[in-house]
Symmetry: C2
Subunit: 693 residues, 2 copies
Amino acid sequence: MTQHFSTRTAASQHREAQARPVDPVGPRRGLGVGELVLDGGFWGALQETNARATLRHCLDWMEQLGWLGNFDRVAEGATGGERPGWQFSDSEVYKLLEALAWEHGRTGDPAVEALLNKVVDRVAAAQDEDGYLNTCFGHAGQAGRYTDLSTGHELYCTGHLLQAAVARVRTLGHAVGRAAGEDRLVEVARRAADHVCREFGADGRGSDGRDGICGHPEIELGLAELGRALGEPRYTEQARLFVERRGHGTLAPIALLSPAYFQDDVPVRDADVWRGHAVRALYLAAGAVDVAVDTHDDDLRAAVERQWTRTVERRTYLTGGMGSRHQDEGFGDDWELPPDRAYCETCAGVASVMVSWRLLLATGEVRYADLIERTLYNVVATSPRADGRAFFYANPLQQREPGADVRPDAVNPRAEGGVRAPWFDVSCCPTNVARTLASWQTYAAFVEEAPGGSSGGGSSDGGVVVSLAQYAAGDLRLSVDARDPGQAGGELALRVTTEYPHDGRIRVEVTAVPERPVTLRLRVPHWADGATLTGPDGSTAAVGPGWADAGTAQATLVLGDVVTLDLPVAPRLTWPDPRVDAVRGTVAVERGPLVLALESADLPDGVLLDQVRLDPAVAPCAQGDGAVVRARAAALPGAGAGTPPFASESAADADDGGPALLDLPLVPYHRWAERGPSTMRVFIPTTPSEETR
Amino acid sequence: MTQHFSTRTAASQHREAQARPVDPVGPRRGLGVGELVLDGGFWGALQETNARATLRHCLDWMEQLGWLGNFDRVAEGATGGERPGWQFSDSEVYKLLEALAWEHGRTGDPAVEALLNKVVDRVAAAQDEDGYLNTCFGHAGQAGRYTDLSTGHELYCTGHLLQAAVARVRTLGHAVGRAAGEDRLVEVARRAADHVCREFGADGRGSDGRDGICGHPEIELGLAELGRALGEPRYTEQARLFVERRGHGTLAPIALLSPAYFQDDVPVRDADVWRGHAVRALYLAAGAVDVAVDTHDDDLRAAVERQWTRTVERRTYLTGGMGSRHQDEGFGDDWELPPDRAYCETCAGVASVMVSWRLLLATGEVRYADLIERTLYNVVATSPRADGRAFFYANPLQQREPGADVRPDAVNPRAEGGVRAPWFDVSCCPTNVARTLASWQTYAAFVEEAPGGSSGGGSSDGGVVVSLAQYAAGDLRLSVDARDPGQAGGELALRVTTEYPHDGRIRVEVTAVPERPVTLRLRVPHWADGATLTGPDGSTAAVGPGWADAGTAQATLVLGDVVTLDLPVAPRLTWPDPRVDAVRGTVAVERGPLVLALESADLPDGVLLDQVRLDPAVAPCAQGDGAVVRARAAALPGAGAGTPPFASESAADADDGGPALLDLPLVPYHRWAERGPSTMRVFIPTTPSEETR
């Protein structure tokens, strides 16, 4: 892939390589889109499929459905009548633009840039003179601008436009500041952001004196990041205003939904837990972290950390999935985690990664990287079909009825279980997957100044610490900033060799070192009891969960150093907290970062998924990327009695017959339903406890 | 109460006494509204509270919210602009009219009739010249008639109008037939029904040639029953057309919902199970039974019986509640019965009783009466607060967070758990409870010709069989039809004495006998293992579940006979079918027909509901109308680990400490949350099985 960079100057390569979605004020920075080149493996393969199939797939669907044509109709003054798509369909175009920008930044492929610019031209043509840009409101035959803040999604769409522009401005290597103006997408976004500030700002509130917020958060993080990218503090201030305005019952109620649906029930800094629509809650939290970090608002940041903690510990699935209810695509109460009606929207998984990544950069705490890994492998990677041309929208942990076959040419309902669909009526997930996979490598590591360095500019330079947060085979090549102007920083290069998560060994070789000292840390996931680290000196030591220093603390890497982390990825049983009522009496099986699942396709003839009872006394064995478990097929009650399915005798008594032992394969959850419609369980009922003794 | 009848002639008393909501062609008839006078007890008290408080409460709320005023605005030509209430608010007025009509039929109270007629006058004034009657469509500033069949609810509202008229025409004792015209409500309904037949009929389809159906079934059963009440076969034929048209994808889709939501996915006669919106599915099924019975369509009837069987055995809660999902207020998949997110809408309980009652009359099978009892005690009776002025809309079987206090003057969201609310935004349930309680006694028994009688009209008269289906203290006094014209039938009178369900003894004394022979049967519920029956001769025998003959088969009752049924109502443990995943590892406690519940209000200080583990080895004891169970307080996992609530060690291991034994009271589920907001469980986790040995 590196040949794609050949047509550019070294300087622009450098700037583009460092381009990344999130770049807060603060001690830590993530990887740039060009700083880690994946070499196949789990994520490399997904990224290639995304590049090869998904981007074009999304574009074709949006063309076919008229979502792109909506921009043309505004440009031509031909609005009115039926408008294809939901009121938020513009945002899908913007998320695809963001994905294309990252993909172009990653590979430099001019064909990707050409595609991007063709779409940008159509979008730009629809922008009004004053910067307003939306194909659903404000033109002939449409409702007026900002007349429906609760459900209109105008600012939401704008937020995604700004995120796309962030990707573009950074991968173009524009100089930071007002002078940037070479790119049409960036200029469109700047004008749109300026319009939002004029309309919704604190002083110059525009002719209507609007001080509203959008029913769907997103503008907050778009403004914050564009403010960072363009060095425009007005945008950050506007983001701050939107965050602070929320939670005071500002939004007009939506029928049958409570204000918690769009987090307008409690101010962000006062809330203790995420609630309501999961994607809304998480986009808002991400924007709140951005604002908190850039304005040094520790109280606000602590509020989001507090919400993260309770939500993860009580309202998050084993997969990292969030959202327990279909009704409002929302969080449930504490401990309300039904496997069958889990919503776990793919977009909520993407949004959860966005929040945790921001908190990881803000705090350096390993738990955020742990959750990112869990969510990436078991939600984000679950959505796309192997060919990258169909997707899960919801990600339940149990499928009771085999999904229906999906017609390849049909727009599907969003949350029907069991089969990945090429496109949805509400199709937020495919483009969200696309932009995440195109920039996956930016979440793999972060860099910070070593804490040991003295505050002065003298020779006691503690150097930098590089923390590997996610593991994938590839070449990491990052610029280490100079400590003082004029002093050289230099480049650190690491070659990571691993078959993770299939295998638990991660080998890191230092292939280039900068002038400044570098300390390397590797993440030991919380589930990795028994991990070991072999340092440059060849000595092996046990390492507990957390950040493991590669070698002695503060040891500086030298060229040729090799560090090997061995994570235990043997299949393991995972038991639910007893307060998670919906999976009482069951156990799940994990293997490294992968949640496993039992599919009906793997059952012997005559055995139903409902009959399977896993014997937890027999340790599961690894098989491929999954496992084999020991189970029995329980007898089920006979024909019904014409009464509800509850009886005066415990059905456990019916199991006495001692049915044959079964050895059943489990597959990684992220690959379930790849063999056609099936039923599936992550949590498997266990044999009665006396049988295990 | 009987003094209310004193102002009427004996003949009109006779006709009014036989008035009942459902009166199909066929061998069995239910009780008339005046044929059983309740004497206090469980249902007598609820009926009195309904009469004293609920009817007026509903009327006041609908007046205050402008739902009644909507009729005035149509009459005055003042429509347009904002219209209070949802598009189906007319139906609440009609359900209240039906309740008032039954209440008047039951008591003869002229004040009730005066109230009814005042409302009828306002409704009648809003009827258009051609019979169309709806306050949301078809007038100045409103959408046109029948322009939104999917969600407009016009025919649904009309259906409830017809049901109200059925109650009125029967309690007025009108002669059956076209000549009936003394009552304004009946004439309004007749004109509305004629309008529907003109607009939606098979030949004269009206100017628009409409052959549609309504998104919410109800018109079917309204037409069928009004056809019976007025002897108008055209109405039955129109009901048949609506039933047959359904299931062919006729209705315009509602965004994000599938055609199964309104049962437009599969024709009624082809479906195997109820699915989609529960109230819609059940009203449709009730109408389909009406049509099947009156047109002798055994195939259609068998289809509904088949749907009933699978739905009850796999998609019905222990309470009889139906509807597993909030999202669409709908049924879930087979075995999908989460206790916490159970919807179990009160209206679905009412509708389930309507279906089962029709099938009971059609078949005589005891299982239908069993489900009616289960649903009446645990869904219908659960909804109203003790004072009859607040209601549950949804009836979940687990409350995780205490409900918020409800403001007495506020319109509440419909399905927020934990506290009964005075009124709802969508307020279908209060009026549904009101009409059901006002006519409760009509479901208590049915009468049919004895099967043993020869077909001719000779002296070998097998007489009639009276089957007591539901038990309540009171005086039953029913007319036994003459077998041949000119021959006398006479009157059967039974005095039922019982404290049921508090006590299991039901004593039936014969206080009057007709000239024709009468056989008495009593229902032994399916849960009543160990029931005994003491016959007129004083001999006691064990009786199994089903219909128990009082005395020897075909024995004719004589004056002074006493029959005593003893049903075991000691608390009993009830275990879920192992396929009901959501309550694995738990047990429920029932007592007679009552499902019991554990409320946090009854826990000792320092014990959380999440900690309670019931010891199933210790039999529960009766206490009041509830029970006392032996339990332990399990230790719960400590502070969170910053990860989702799943761990590598089974939390059951944390229980080793052997905590103190607890004796905890359970209350009848129908009375939970009467002491303020609390958490609650019907299904209680059990102690690990080794502790029970």
